[in-house]
C-alpha cells in the first residue's frame, strides 16, 4: 500500500498548494509507514516536477496528455484512479480547491473510498483512521472516521506548513490510457486572472465591506494589498452590488479562506461573513462602530474611519517593506 498525492499545475508551473500537499503527503506516509508517490497530469517539465524533491517526494508519475488542461472532472478522476491502482495507493490526497472539490468525490466513488474534504492537519489517529475537519462553516470541528480501506482526502489550502526534506526525485512517464473521446468538457472561453495573487493562495488578505462605500474607493485597498503581496476579498453585499467580482466574496456563501493575516475594512462581521474567515491566524478589523461584531473575532482592532486608517497603514507598510 502507499499514499498518492495529486500535484496540480497551472500552465506547467506547480502551485503553492502543491508544495503544501507534498509536505503533507510525505508526513502522512511517514506516520503510516508507507511510501509516497506523486501524480502529475498535463505538460509539466522535469525540472519543475523535481522541485517536489525539496518536500520529500522521490517518485513522480507524469502523464503528459495535453487534454488534462480542459479540467474534465470525469477524465481526471479516471486518471487518478488508474494512477492509484498502478502505485497500489490506498490513500489519495489532493487540494481542497475548485478542481479538488470537483474531482475528489468522483474519484472516491471509483475507488470505493471514504472522502473527507478540507482536512486540517495530519490524522488524529491512524488506527482507526480519524481526521479533523471544520464543519458548520467554521463554527465547529468534527473528528471523522474513515471506515473504508481506501481513502480520499482534500487538504484545505494554507492549513499545513511546508516541511523541507530534500530527496532525489525520479520522474516516471505514466499513461492513464485516456483518448480524446474521454474529454467532454467543451471550453468556449477562458478568463485568466493574471498578475494577481489568487485569493485561495494568499497568505495575507485585504478585504473590504459596505463601509468602503463605493467601488471607486478600492484603490487604497489594492495599494495596501500590493505592498504586502496580499490577495483582495470582500463581503457579500459588496460583490452583490458589483463593486467587486464574485470570486472575491468570502463567507458562508462565498469562499472559505484561512490566511495568516486578514484585514477587514468596513465589515460588520456578520456570522455568515465570519464563517469564511474565522480560521485566519490573525484578524485586523477597522470599523467606526465600536459594537461591530467583527471586533469579537479580531485580534487587533481600530474603532475609526477606514479612510483615515488606510493611508496610515499604507505608509507604515511601505516603510516596513523598504
Amino acid at each position: 500500500m502507499s499514499v498518492l498525492v495529486y500535484i496540480e499545475n497551472w500552465d506547467g508551473k506547480l502551485k503553492k498548494i502543491s508544495f503544501e500537499l507534498a509536505s503533507y503527503a510525505t508526513k502522512l506516509a511517514e506516520s503510516l509507514q508507507l511510501p509516497v508517490t506523486a501524480i502529475s497530469l498535463g505538460k509539466v517539465d522535469e525540472t519543475e516536477l523535481g522541485k517536489l524533491g525539496n518536500y520529500g517526494i522521490s517518485k513522480v508519475m507524469s502523464d503528459n496528455n495535453e487534454l488534462y488542461k480542459t479540467l474534465d472532472n470525469r477524465a481526471i478522476a479516471i486518471a487518478l484512479a488508474e494512477a492509484a491502482a498502478k502505485s497500489n495507493a490506498s490513500i489519495v490526497v489532493m487540494a481542497n480547491n475548485n478542481l479538488g472539490k470537483a474531482v475528489s468525490p468522483r474519484l472516491a466513488v471509483r475507488m470505493k473510498a471514504g472522502l473527507v474534504s478540507a482536512v486540517q492537519g495530519l490524522p488524529v489517529s491512524t488506527e482507526p483512521f480519524v481526521v479533523k475537519k471544520m464543519v458548520f462553516t467554521s463554527k465547529a470541528f468534527a473528528h471523522i472516521e474513515v471506515k473504508s480501506v481506501n481513502k480520499v482526502l482534500t487538504l484545505a489550502p494554507n492549513s499545513f506548513q511546508l516541511i523541507e526534506k530534500t530527496v532525489e526525485t525520479v520522474v516516471e512517464a505514466f499513461d492513464a490510457g485516456l483518448s480524446a473521446a474521454d474529454f467532454v468538457t467543451n471550453i468556449e472561453a477562458t478568463n485568466k486572472v493574471t498578475g494577481k495573487i489568487l485569493l485561495q493562495d494568499a497568505e495575507i488578505v485585504v478585504s473590504g465591506g459596505r463601509g468602503m462605500k463605493a467601488a471607486e474607493n478600492w484603490g487604497q485597498l489594492e495599494d495596501l494589498a500590493e505592498i504586502l503581496g496580499a490577495g483582495t476579498a470582500c463581503s457579500r453585499p459588496v460583490s452583490d452590488e458589483g463593486w467587486r467580482p464574485h470570486a472575491e466574496h468570502v463567507g458562508q456563501t462565498g469562499k472559505i479562506i484561512a490566511p495568516n493575516l486578514y484585514f477587514a475594512f468596513g465589515i460588520s462581521g456578520a456570522i455568515q461573513h465570519l464563517g469564511g474567515v474565522s480560521s485566519s491566524k490573525v484578524i485586523v478589523a477597522v470599523n467606526k462602530d465600536p459594537e461591530a461584531p467583527i471586533f469579537e473575532a479580531a485580534d487587533y482592532g481600530i474603532v475609526g474611519d477606514v479612510f483615515k486608517v488606510l493611508p496610515q497603514f499604507i505608509e507604515a507598510a511601505k516603510e516596513l517593506k523598504s
Binding site: 472532472n73 470537483a102 473528528h143 468556449e188 495575507i204 452583490d240 485580534d299 481600530i302 507598510a317 516596513l320
Partner: protein
C-alpha cells in the same frame, strides 16, 4: 427536459451551534431549518430557466434524503415553484450513502443540480459522487447556466479564473454563488399551492456509509481584541510585524 434539484436541509445560517453532552451529535433542539443556500439558488435558477424557455422544461423536481423533519424545507421548495418533491426516508449517514440513494431517482432527469456544499457538514461531495454513480458528465463550481438550443451554456470558476463551456445533456452541475442573483422567496399563492403538490416519500435502498462523525468540538474562545487608537494606526503594522510576526 426534466430538472432535478437536490435539496439539503440545514440549520439557519445564524444558528448557534451546540452538541449533545458527550459531543457526539449535533443538538438540533430549537433549530430553524432552511434550504441549503446554494440549493435555494439552484432552484431559483431552474425556475428562471423554465420561465425563460417556455416549453423546453417539463418539470422541476426536488429531492432530499432525510427523515420527516425535512418536509418543511421540501414544502418551501414547492412553494418557491418546484412541481414535485421526493423524500427518501433515511438518515443521511454520509455523502456516499446519500449519493447512493439519490442515484436511484436521478437517472431519469437530463439535468441534475447540486450545491457545492451543504452548510452543515461542508462535505462538498454529494454532487460529484452522484455524477460518478450515474456515470454522467459533471461540471463543478458552476456560476452561470443557460439553455442554448439543445445544449447548455455554463460558466464555471476555475482556480485562477473562469470559463464558459458548452455542454450536452445529460449533465450534473454542481452550482455555487452567481448561479442566481437572489433566492426566490415563496409568495402567498405559492405557499397555498404547495400544499396540493405531491411530496412522495420513498424507501431507501441498501447502502453503506464509508465515514462516520465520531465527535465534535467548538473552536477555542478567542483572546480579547487589542484596541489601537485611530490616530496611532501605524502601530498596528508594527505589532503585526513584531508581536504577531505575520508581516
Amino acid at each position: 427536459m426534466k430538472i432535478l434539484v437536490l435539496i439539503g436541509n440545514v440549520p439557519d445560517t445564524t444558528t448557534k451551534i451546540k452538541f449533545n453532552a458527550d459531543n457526539t451529535a449535533f443538538d438540533a433542539s430549537g433549530v430553524q431549518w432552511i434550504i441549503n443556500p446554494w440549493d435555494e439558488l439552484a432552484l431559483t435558477r431552474a425556475m428562471e430557466l423554465k420561465e425563460a424557455h417556455a416549453g423546453k422544461i417539463d418539470s422541476i423536481v426536488v429531492a432530499n434524503v432525510g427523515r420527516a423533519i425535512t418536509e418543511g424545507t421540501l414544502r418551501k421548495a414547492l412553494a418557491v415553484g418546484a412541481d414535485e418533491a421526493i423524500r427518501i426516508d433515511a438518515d443521511p449517514l454520509d455523502a456516499f450513502y446519500v449519493a447512493r440513494q439519490l442515484a436511484e431517482v436521478a437517472k431519469d432527469y437530463e439535468l441534475v443540480l447540486a450545491g457545492i456544499e451543504a452548510a452543515d457538514y461542508n462535505g462538498a461531495a454529494v454532487g460529484g459522487m452522484l455524477a460518478e454513480l450515474l456515470d454522467r458528465k459533471s461540471v463543478s463550481a458552476v456560476s452561470g447556466i443557460d439553455i442554448d438550443n439543445d445544449a447548455l451554456k455554463i460558466s464555471r470558476e476555475i482556480d485562477g479564473g473562469s470559463q464558459t463551456l458548452k455542454m450536452d445533456l445529460p449533465l450534473l452541475a454542481v452550482v455555487q454563488k452567481g448561479i442566481a442573483k437572489e433566492p426566490r422567496i415563496p409568495a402567498m399563492r405559492g405557499i397555498m399551492m404547495a400544499r396540493k403538490k405531491p411530496l412522495n416519500v420513498i424507501a431507501p435502498v441498501e447502502a453503506e456509509a464509508l465515514t462516520a462523525y465520531n465527535s465534535f468540538e467548538l473552536p477555542a474562545p478567542k483572546a480579547a481584541c487589542k484596541m489601537i487608537d485611530e490616530e496611532q494606526a501605524a502601530e498596528v503594522i508594527r505589532l503585526l510585524h513584531e508581536e504577531a510576526k505575520v508581516l
